[in-house]
Symmetry: C2
Subunit: 195 residues, 2 copies
């Protein structure tokens, strides 16, 4: 059994969490034999208003959510208020300490850096936030050319749409390349940017 | 001024609408001088539960929504109940008749086909739904290899993630290639599927 929690908050960038949600919940729904559960959670369980104005209703509050094996922390302007927040720092450090696989998309990596999770690790984030990320920790090695960086206990993805690629990598890492190929086909992910 | 309405409903596939939402609302928010407004709407304005279980709160009911210039109709298993629905057929035909640019993602094209909007046109949809789409109208020309098909008054996209590419095409068509390039950079859309 694998339980994946996607954290949402006011000012979370929509595609940061919705891209991985699509990948991971497709996996969970279409292959129930894999034993994957995916849900969303916010600090208090109340609806959140995302960075571009989308309102969504999380499945759980942090305290009501089941224990998780994988955390996904999206980015967005809402992350700025999380820097230096002791509640969030303590929660992230506790998840890390109990062995939760810590994943982020975009500027979610800033919050991980602020909590000390990226110290001594290679990592990436949104293209304009690489210097800020590096400044928030000790010996963080920025990887501006990587779509995502898997450093073992922590995986960070580049900006916004990179969460889709990172989530497919997660399916591969947690299950198999064959399953990741099937999930990719399920969401018809053959990107062709027109410009 | 350009007003874009994204239709949502129970069983709408999440990334079908969330991908275009990210593209189009980024355009609207970051370049207010372009005069673009984007919102979501459902039949009755009440929260919807999407295909993979995500709950979201639409901005408007259909009757309360401002007049739109562009409609985006996502797919998902929820579209099956829309086939043959007279309320939806009449609404779509009325939008078409008043010159609304009709766009769809994935199996949203099935509902357009059912309403007669694709008769005599090239079109695409989710890879497994091409035959069904063709059977729902007269002289619909399926384009299985196209990521999206722009037939002038109607634009149809392939499955799920194809809505991102189609939405960038929309930015280019409605504004400029330069703006579409900027929006693409904003969402760091340099896809690298890992498998």
């Amino acid at each position: 059994m694998t339980t994946i929690g996607i954290f949402v908050f006011d000012g979370a960038e929509e595609l940061d969490w919705a891209g991985p949600w699509e990948v991971l919940s497709s996996w969970a729904q279409i292959w129930p034999e894999d034993g994957v559960t995916v849900f969303t959670m916010s600090l208090d369980g109340e609806p959140v208003t995302c960075a571009k104005g989308l309102r969504m209703i999380p499945d759980y509050s942090l305290t009501a959510a089941p224990p998780i094996d994988v955390l996904l922390y999206p980015g967005g302007r809402g992350t700025r208020g999380h820097l230096g927040d002791h509640t969030i720092r303590s929660w992230l450090q506790a998840e890390r300490d109990r062995g939760t696989l810590m994943t982020s998309v975009c500027t979610g990596a800033l919050v991980y850096a602020d909590a000390g999770l990226l110290d001594g690790r290679p990592a990436t984030t949104y293209w304009s936030a690489l210097d800020l990320m590096t400044s928030l920790g000790t010996d963080i090695q920025p990887r501006p050319d990587d779509r995502w960086v898997d450093s073992g206990e922590v995986i960070t993805a580049a900006g916004v749409s990179a969460g889709i690629d990172m989530a497919l990598h997660l399916v591969r890492r947690l299950h198999s390349e064959a399953r990741a190929v099937e999930v990719r086909r399920q969401i018809q992910y053959d990107p062709q940017p027109p410009i």
